[in-house]
Symmetry: C2
Subunit: 236 residues, 2 copies
Amino acid sequence: MSDPATPDEQQRVALAVSTVIFALRPHPTTRRLAVHLPLVRRIRAPHQGRWALPGGPLGASEGLGAAASRTLGETTRLRPRYLEQLYAFGGPDRAPSAAERTVSIVYWAMVRPEEADAGVAGVNVQWFLADELPELAFDHNLIVEYALWRLRNKLEYSRIAAAFLGETFTLAELRGVHEAVLQRPLDPANFRRQMEASGRLVPTDEFRTGGRHRPARLFRHDESIHLADNGPLTRA
Amino acid sequence: MSDPATPDEQQRVALAVSTVIFALRPHPTTRRLAVHLPLVRRIRAPHQGRWALPGGPLGASEGLGAAASRTLGETTRLRPRYLEQLYAFGGPDRAPSAAERTVSIVYWAMVRPEEADAGVAGVNVQWFLADELPELAFDHNLIVEYALWRLRNKLEYSRIAAAFLGETFTLAELRGVHEAVLQRPLDPANFRRQMEASGRLVPTDEFRTGGRHRPARLFRHDESIHLADNGPLTRA
DNA sequence: TCAAAAGTGTTTCACTTACACCCATGG
DNA sequence: CCATGGGTGTAAGTGAAACACTTTTGA
């Protein structure tokens, strides 16, 4: 796809893919929505016993994104609603015993809450609050921080919040996503106008009833607009 | 650095690094500054004879960024003022004869005009206008487009324009960089206030004389502020 | 003294923010 | 009928854009 050198010029390295998976779940104490992510416990050296991002080796006949999606599913049984490449890591000082060079491509993904509960179950896979993580294996703390920065950034100029919601949703639900990600309350009136002005929302004829208050109109996202910038491949 | 799987689980692949190098040079007809980039002509299959991004294989004991910097220097004799990872490409359908899998990490870089002229010389290395490229090898056209998008984006919220300029510069020179990259004229008065308000500029006591007009004050960039977001490694 | 660019002041307009207020529903 | 959140209106504040104007130099 994108390289000028021919194979015989190139060095062979081990290549793996990891993924930062975000989901919104109730905070254990405040019960308000908060950004969570699943981690897997390492069962072998290096960093045995530590929590790490789910991932695995690159398959022989799959793309990088496909590998991220697959290894993510194998370790956590989650299927991402959104998947985007984050960064490639490949310092020469990786292997502890100087055995072999490894480069990892890290992706970040978003899943819906329903999926989140179904997927993660075992004692070796567990949800953590995104901003209260233990010390992770490798430089995974740094990676999560960077992914969070990207998530918060993209919320402002893309309809990425859709990945945390169903097909239709009320403005209050959408606002809840923004508040959970940005960790601050937003004015309902101004949020509504902002969203309406963005042109990304399409009102439906349906309403969400059941609360002890006026029913809220359901919206959907404009399908003609791409979910978000997903790198060069989906931008063209 | 960042991978949960151990070497024996991982597939071995060929890995190479390419770089999109930007420099500002006078437009061949209008003589105004325009974004250019150097390309190298491929001397072997696949895509023999086509222009491509400079690059090469990853060395055994160097980081990804170091490899980009090195291969860039070997092919064009340029030394980047700024270097940032762009994207990793690794579709399974790369090799024409289905021989071996190759993944490339693409970087983008900026160099100063003086360096630009010195570096690129041979018939197999040549400068091109960034928005008037011929059909390149692989998917390099797509990559350049994405890199240009990142460059224009970053101009707005970082002091990245510094990489195109010397240690000190006038506001007109800085504005010239912005105008060349964004391809539209900017109001001098408003540009001045924007830059002053950003807090990234430090005025010096020196002035640029010689024009048939009032001398312009020289500024420098605040060194305490990082050049730009350079991925997770330099953000923490 | 004049052209040209440096640098300042000012008006306008769009958008965000804060908050008051009415609407519709379930209990 | 009233508490609760849905939804609308509006005035103040902030910042960008447009442009008139003054300043300072080289020729």
